[in-house]
C-alpha cells in the first residue's frame, strides 16, 4: 500500500537541495566570471604593452606604426609621442613581458627587450603604466628602467 508522506517529503527535500545548488551555482558562476574577466584583463594589458613597444620602434620609419603607437597611448605619454619621444632603434625583440599589478582600470607592466640600433644590440628594460579607457588598455606612461 503506498504511503503518500514519503514521496512528498522526498520531493520537498530534493526541491530544497536543487534550490541550494542553484544558489551556489549562481554565486560560483559570478566568481568564475570575475576570475575569467580578470585573467582576460591581465592578458590584454600585457599584450597591449608588447604591441606598443613594437609599434613604438617602428614609428619613425612607418606612418602606420606611428598612428598605431599613438592610438595605443594616452595622457602624458601620448603627448610625448606626438612630440617624437621614441627610442632611436631600427628593430626590437620583446623577450618577456610581465604583469606587476592590476587594480581596476590601472595596471603596471614590465618588459625586457633588445633594441637594435643598426650598430649593435642593447638591453631595453621598460616599465609601463596602463589605464583602461572605453574597454581598451592604453599606455599612460612608459619609462626605461635604468
Amino acid at each position: 500500500m503506498p504511503r503518500p508522506g514519503r514521496p512528498r517529503g522526498a520531493a520537498l527535500l530534493l526541491t530544497a537541495l536543487l534550490a541550494a545548488l542553484v544558489v551556489a551555482g549562481v554565486v560560483l558562476g559570478v566568481v568564475d566570471a570575475r576570475a575569467a574577466a580578470r585573467g582576460a584583463d591581465e592578458a590584454t594589458a600585457v599584450d597591449a604593452v608588447r604591441t606598443h613597444l613594437t609599434e613604438l620602434v617602428a614609428a619613425p620609419s612607418s606612418s602606420t606604426a606611428r598612428t598605431q603607437a599613438l592610438d595605443g597611448a594616452t595622457g602624458a605619454w601620448r603627448a610625448r609621442l606626438e612630440q617624437g619621444g621614441v627610442p632611436a632603434a631600427s628593430s626590437v625583440v620583446v623577450r618577456a613581458v610581465g604583469l606587476e599589478s592590476l587594480d581596476g582600470d590601472t595596471a603596471r607592466v614590465v618588459a625586457a627587450a633588445r633594441l637594435d640600433d643598426g650598430s649593435g644590440q642593447r638591453a631595453w628594460r621598460v616599465d609601463a603604466a596602463l589605464v583602461r579607457q572605453d574597454g581598451r588598455w592604453l599606455v599612460d606612461d612608459l619609462a626605461e628602467v635604468p
Binding site: P7, L18, L21, E100
Partner: protein, 166 residues
C-alpha cells in the same frame, strides 16, 4: 490515492533527482574552477615575491664565503634546475671566484608575472648585478633581466626552478 497520482509523483521525483545531480555536477566544476583561480592568484603573488627575494641569493657570492654561498644557492633551487645549477656553481663559479677573488651581488628592481598556475609561476625580473674581481679598478654594474621560473619545493616554499638571462 490513484495509480496515476502515484505515477506522477514518481516522475516528479525522478525529474528533481536528475536536475539535482546535474546541478551538483555544474556546481562541483564551478567550485573547482574557483579554487584553482584563487590558488593561481596566490601563486602569482607569492611567486613574484619569491623571485624578488631569491634572485639575489642565486646570483650572490663572495670568494671569502663562497662555500657557504654555494650551499645557500642550492637551498633556493628546485627540480632539474637545481642539479644543473649546482653543477655550474660547483664546477665553474666557485673555482673562478676563489681564483679571481671575485664577488657578485644582485639587486632586484622590478618583477612582473608572465604566467601563473597554482604550482608554476614564470616571471620577468629586472635587476642590477654588481661584480668585482681582484685587480679591477671598480666594481662593474650591469642592468640585466631574466626569466625566472618558480615552483613549490618539498616544504611548500617557492623556489627557483629555472633561470634564463634575457
Amino acid at each position: 490515492m490513484t495509480r496515476a497520482v502515484v505515477g506522477r509523483r514518481r516522475t516528479v521525483l525522478v525529474v528533481l533527482g536528475v536536475l539535482a545531480i546535474a546541478a551538483a555536477v555544474v556546481v562541483g566544476q564551478l567550485a573547482h574552477r574557483a579554487v584553482v583561480a584563487g590558488e593561481t592568484d596566490v601563486a602569482a603573488r607569492d611567486g613574484a615575491a619569491a623571485a624578488a627575494a631569491l634572485t639575489p641569493v642565486l646570483l650572490g657570492y663572495d670568494w671569502r664565503t663562497v662555500d657557504a654561498d654555494a650551499e645557500r644557492i642550492d637551498s633556493v633551487t628546485t627540480g632539474p634546475f637545481a642539479a644543473q645549477n649546482h653543477a655550474i656553481v660547483a664546477g665553474l663559479v666557485v673555482p673562478a671566484a676563489v681564483d679571481g677573488h671575485a664577488t657578485s651581488s644582485a639587486t632586484v628592481s622590478r618583477v612582473g608575472v608572465v604566467t601563473a598556475t597554482p604550482d608554476h609561476v614564470e616571471t620577468v625580473v629586472l635587476y642590477t648585478q654588481t661584480t668585482g674581481r681582484e685587480g679591477d679598478p671598480a666594481p662593474r654594474r650591469d642592468a640585466r633581466s631574466a626569466r625566472v621560473v618558480l615552483e613549490p619545493g618539498g616544504d611548500g616554499r617557492w623556489l627557483i626552478a629555472g633561470f634564463d638571462a634575457l
